[in-house]
């Protein structure tokens, strides 16, 4: 089978981060990623991606602004014609850093907040950062760059969704992303304490519908339903190895940012093989590309090229087999395991994301 052309590359520059959000999708074994790619290696990755037809580059982490070469990498990507997106928690965006990033040609910044109020936000982040973020948001909003505000929702902040929208309005945000936590990495570890209740999700849908109507033309609001409530799975990454690739801090190439969680696959590294070759023919990319790997009920499903069997990482986490139908699909024979999880609410303390040996 010939590989389709990728259009987006996510560069996870580092997994270092000064925050300890328990909903992080990064892997639990953060310390095994401490050997980070060099500036020259990242530039080569960007060049190879452009040669493969990629037009969008995301810079993420961890916290990507902890890499001093971030402006240099953005300048390199931008000169090569890539549209550049920075996904940051914003605590290091002082004026000098912003000048450097915008001077490099950065097109879009996404800043995340943990909650609309300082006390709750700082509790979730595990450190005092909310005030700094609020300041960064205002500074970016005054600049000539696209800005998205993001807030990851979970049981501990879902009821503040109206206040998140009000926060966005106060700060003149035109694009707000209310993203329900996705259960990978640390978030999966903390799932019992993070999963929103059905009542919370229903309430949120009402609040969002009202706000969308009231703010039409001023603010666009995306509300991403939690997978476990959707009925049908999300078309994860628009299909495994169809359009999107991620490179981890240590050079592993993944079809999805959470794919390292699939312990039955090995992922080739950009230090060992050209990116294009990894995309086209490495075992991990070929494993679940297209529809030939699909079991029933996917195989005969009329949505098989719409949702692509859902999420491989989720299938692995919930059934120990990445080749099964995503159990969040109501047609999956394993759907019961997901429904069972919805009944589990626990007061078990959340485990904060920690670098262990790194920080």
């Amino acid at each position: 089978m010939t590989a389709p052309r990728p259009n987006s590359l996510l560069c996870e520059l580092t997994y270092r981060c000064n925050l300890q959000c328990p909903y992080c999708y990064n892997p639990l074994d953060l310390q095994s990623y401490r050997q980070e790619l060099t500036t020259a290696e990242w530039k080569r990755v960007l060049d190879e991606a452009v040669g493969m037809g990629v037009v969008q580059a995301g810079f993420s982490g961890g916290e990507p602004t902890l890499r001093d070469d971030l402006p240099e990498l953005i300048a390199h990507a931008s000169k090569a014609g890539l549209y550049t997106n920075l996904i940051t928690q914003g605590t290091f965006l002082d004026d000098a850093k912003l000048d450097a990033l915008l001077g490099a040609g950065l097109d879009h910044i996404q800043i995340s907040i943990q909650a609309p109020t300082e006390e709750l936000a700082d509790r979730i982040a595990g450190t005092h950062v909310h005030a700094k973020k609020e300041d960064a948001i205002d500074r970016v909003a005054r600049r000539d760059v696209a800005l998205t505000l993001n807030c990851v929702l979970h049981r501990g902040n879902h009821d503040q969704i109206g206040e998140v929208i009000a926060f966005a309005e106060r700060h003149g945000i035109t694009k707000l992303e209310l993203a329900n936590v996705q259960f990978y990495g640390w978030a999966y570890r903390n799932r019992a304490g993070l999963l929103p209740t059905r009542a919370q999700v229903e309430h949120a849908l009402e609040v969002v519908a009202e706000a969308r109507e009231r703010l039409a033309g001023k603010m666009r609001i995306a509300y991403v339903l939690p997978d476990y409530f959707g009925g049908r799975p999300k078309p994860c990454m628009n299909g495994w190895g169809q359009a999107f690739l991620t490179v981890t801090p240590d050079g592993r190439v993944l079809p999805c940012p959470a794919a390292a969680g699939i312990k039955t696959l090995t992922f080739d590294r950009v230090q060992d093989r050209p990116l294009g070759e990894i995309w086209e023919s490495s075992d991990a990319f070929v494993a679940y590309r297209g529809t030939a790997w699909m079991p029933e009920p996917c195989r005969s499903c009329d949505r098989k090229e719409i949702d692509w069997g859902g999420c491989r990482c989720q299938a692995f986490l919930l059934t120990s087999d990445a080749g099964k139908t995503d159990p969040t699909c109501e047609l999956s024979p394993e759907h019961e395991t997901v429904i069972a999880a919805l009944g589990v609410e626990s007061d078990t303390p959340l485990v904060p994301r920690r670098m262990k040996s790194l920080v």
Binding site: G53, Q56, Y83, D107, A146, K175
Partner: protein, 76 residues
């Protein structure tokens, strides 16, 4: 947002974490959007190239600009 010529010659509109594939007329219209030209001037420029009634061109251009503005990609 940024206009980008794809390898097959199609024009792409690159927006935050998204890609819109443009048809030829949309691409030509957006190539004229520079923050200086008025909508009228854009319609005039297109009118000089196409044998389409001005009123129809005007409607199409306004429709395109309105849709992109609603999605937050253009500001007036």
């Amino acid at each position: 947002m940024r206009l980008h010529k794809d390898t097959d010659g199609t024009m792409l509109l690159l927006v935050p974490e998204g890609i819109l594939r443009l048809n030829d007329t949309a691409a030509e219209t957006l190539a004229l959007v520079d923050g200086e030209r008025s909508v009228d001037a854009i319609v005039d420029a297109l009118g000089a190239r196409y044998a389409v009634p001005r009123a129809e061109l005007g409607r199409d251009v306004e429709d395109l600009i309105e849709r992109l503005t609603l999605r937050g990609y253009l500001t007036s």
